[in-house]
């Protein structure tokens, strides 16, 4: 993965501003609660949801176990259908391949359908450095791009913006990117959508190159699948002469029968719809229809390393539905930007520190960006055990251990800044394993209870800043037991 920007703050610091931003919290709360309720209703309509979910998990696990096999099969199918397959080990290689392909066409502009993989590798910036301008065409992505903002949600990247803010961004910025916003633009959703439609239509008709991601790739036929709501993606996928798809290697499914399961799981989990409005599928090239040239860039960028981890690999089952974000109480308060990555919320907390490693401050803090409440696991359509992976990664952060980086098995040292905590945990372990010492400590706490300050120093300050401390009782339970019952078991 392209790595984090140097100086990207750790999650707790990044979350602080968001927690204090009342508008942002209001926007997030309203949006996530609405979609949470809708999802629950959409899922409840299917009486075989549990079986579908188990099937989705099983298909993903089997595919990941034999990923090499299915990727080679996919490559054969895509090539046979007239496409070209490129393999990219990391972000730099993927960007080099894509910018090279675009420049070879002579075009200076590309249209894009929402793709997290291209955000993950920073493709827009790489293209810009080569004098190529990339236009986002997904409505929410457009809002984010025009607002010089970053996405904060997987499915609804502009979830943190309300209608008034979107109107202001359109009115102010559209002219610099193409067709300006109509005069007197209001914040009515229909007016905003129409302004975006007119602005984008120009670009679709002009563009010679389209760049996309894909939700799924079917190995048996070499077919790529994009699931979307607006139809803008279909414009990108069908109008340009050249189509370049950048897709993470974990998105492959073996057969169309497997795809059927995910086309039921994804829309209900993600937009709470029975079926999404547009499902576009393309297989290589065809004469007189669609793009004349098709390139598939298969992106690794830390995925093979993640696959090598027996506990952590389940993160690669993710189908990017964003249900975990919508139920996460931490995401709801902190917003997506605090995760310092294109993948926010619970999935970001387990995926980014695996794709990028736990070396940076933000990546070492992400496994702790959860109260382990498990709401994410409950809604995950492929049953990722988030708490299990979070705790596994916490161990990697504080104790180091074996991991795979760039295909090589390495022994990681513990992350910096945990020495005091480690010493405290060791001391606690000792005391807890010596009940006499524990009892002495408890007695000391009880006897000095009148002396305890209301505000604690050190790490305890975080507690007393927002909460009262429980009152210390005069006598621990074990002393009461001994006093009233004796030591008899």
């Amino acid at each position: 993965m392209s790595g984090t920007q140097p100086g990207t703050p750790a999650f707790p610091e990044a979350a602080r501003d968001a927690v204090r931003d009342g508008t942002l919290r209001g926007n997030l709360r309203h949006a996530t609660r609405t979609i949470r309720g809708k999802r629950a209703r959409a899922v409840a309509e299917l009486d075989d949801w549990a079986e579908l979910r188990a099937a989705g998990k099983a298909i993903k696990d089997r595919t990941l176990r034999h990923l090499d096999h299915y990727l080679v099969r996919l490559e054969r199918s895509v090539t046979a259908a007239g496409g070209t397959v490129h393999w990219a080990a990391d972000a730099a290689e993927a960007n080099r391949i894509v910018t090279g392909l675009v420049k070879a066409t002579g075009e200076r502009e590309v249209v894009k359908v929402k793709s997290m993989a291209t955000q993950e590798i920073g493709l827009n910036e790489a293209l810009e450095a080569e004098g190529v301008r990339a236009y986002e065409t997904d409505l929410a992505e457009l809002i984010v791009q025009l607002g010089r903002d970053r996405p904060s949600h997987t499915l609804v990247p502009a979830i943190h913006r309300n209608r008034g803010e979107i109107r202001d961004v359109f009115a102010r910025e559209m002219a610099a990117w193409g067709r300006p916003a109509p005069d007197g633009l209001t914040d009515r959703p229909a007016d905003l959508a129409e302004a975006a439609r007119l602005h984008l239509r120009e670009k679709f008709l002009r563009a010679g190159v389209g760049i996309s991601g894909a939700n799924f790739m079917v190995a048996e036929t070499g077919t790529l699948v994009v699931v979307e709501s607006e139809g803008n993606g279909r414009m990108c996928l069908t109008l340009p002469e050249t189509l370049i798809s950048v897709v993470g290697i974990e998105k492959v499914v073996p057969t169309w029968r497997d795809l059927e399961v995910f086309l039921q799981l994804l829309p209900r989990s993600s937009t709470a719809e029975r079926m999404n409005p547009y499902t576009t599928m393309w297989t290589g090239t065809a004469d007189g229809d669609g793009p004349r040239a098709f390139h598939l860039v298969l992106l690794d960028n830390g995925r093979t390393d993640t696959l090598a981890d027996e506990v952590g690999r389940q993160a690669l089952r993710c189908i990017r539905c964003s249900a975990c974000l919508n139920v996460c109480p931490v995401y709801e308060r902190a917003g997506g930007h605090a995760y310092g990555s294109v993948y926010p919320g619970p999935i970001g907390a387990i995926l980014s520190p695996q794709l990028r490693g736990t070396g940076s401050a933000v990546d070492a803090s992400l496994p702790y960006a959860s109260s382990l409440c498990g709401a994410c696991t409950d809604v995950c359509p492929v049953a990722i055990d988030f708490p299990e992976v979070l705790i596994h990664l916490r161990e990697r952060v504080v104790q180091g251990g074996e991991a795979t980086r760039n295909g090589v098995r390495v022994r990681l040292r513990p992350a910096k800044g945990h020495a005091a905590e480690r010493a405290a945990m060791r001391a606690a372990r000792w005391a807890l394993d010596h009940p006499a010492a524990l009892r002495a400590g408890q007695r000391l706490v009880s006897r000095t209870r009148r002396l305890h300050p209301a505000r604690l120093p050190g790490p305890g300050r975080a507690w007393t800043d927002a909460r009262e401390l429980p009152e210390v009782p005069p006598e621990p339970f074990r002393d009461w037991w001994r006093r009233t019952r004796g030591d008899a078991r």
Binding site: S370, I391, Q399, M425
Partner: protein, 251 residues
């Protein structure tokens, strides 16, 4: 029937009245209660923060302390979940890392005998009316570990519904985490406090006199936020409500 009380380190040190309530309640129901003094902590703070190796001796200690008891009952959903979910993992990893099968065997003995209090009452003793009397309005917060890790379902509510004089008030967003999360409260203080404030507001909106749960750690957080807000709502462990009677009302 003889059962061991696993009081937990938090209850032992800060909430001994919850431990005393469990003893009173179980004895009232005809259960002989033992308290092995060798017990300490389940290891959850260590394990959940990433210090699995520091939790390993506590798995073996748990096994030693409760050897010979058919049932171990604990008034803590999260500690019961720790035993049930994490002990087998800790044991398997210890074996995989070449430290023998002792921890795995300890886990295998600990898991089937460990019950959260409401599970024990409903599933083992088969009672929902425990003869309690608590003439107050109460709201119930289903803690995350009780709700999702243990799957307590409606057991706590069934017990509460048979308490004389008790009026249960519905809690809006009940299934949302209160924001405690062990070391989460210290490592992510702003987010934790924001979650706690929302939970406290929801509790206050019920108009209940008390909020109850099956875990004092969550209640310490919710109660701490409520107290800082100057609220009059009390945080009370479910066991204390179930232990209260007309003759011996809750203190």
């Amino acid at each position: 029937m003889r059962v061991a009380l696993f009081v937990t380190c938090v209850n032992d040190t800060l909430y001994p009245r919850t431990g005393r309530a469990v003893v009173r309640l179980l004895e009232r129901l005809g259960v002989e209660v033992g308290f092995p003094a060798e017990q300490s902590c389940c290891g959850q703070p260590q394990y959940n923060t990433g210090y699995r190796r520091e939790a390993e001796p506590l798995v073996r200690r748990f096994d030693r302390a409760f050897a010979g008891y058919e049932y171990v009952v604990t008034p803590s959903g999260s500690c019961a979940a720790m035993v049930r979910d994490a002990y087998p993992r800790i044991g398997a990893e210890a074996a995989a890392e070449g430290r023998g099968t002792e921890a795995a065997e300890a886990a295998a003995r600990a898991v089937p005998r460990t019950y959260e209090l409401t599970e024990f009452l409903v599933d083992v003793l088969g009672v929902t009316d425990v003869g309690a009397c608590f003439p107050h309005t109460v709201t119930y917060h289903p803690t995350c570990h009780g709700l999702r890790a243990l799957g307590l379902g409606d057991r706590p509510r069934r017990l509460l519904s048979r308490v004389r004089g008790l009026q249960l008030r519905e809690l809006d967003g009940a299934e949302e985490c209160c924001g405690f999360g062990g070391t989460f409260a210290v490592k992510n203080p702003d987010v934790s406090a924001a979650m706690g404030a929302d939970k406290a507001r929801a509790v206050e909106a019920t108009g209940a006199e008390a909020v109850c749960a099956v875990d004092n750690s969550c209640l310490a957080h919710i109660g701490g936020v409520l107290a800082r807000r100057g609220s009059r709502v009390r945080a009370v462990h479910l066991a204390e409500i179930l232990a209260a009677t007309e003759e011996e009302p809750h203190g």
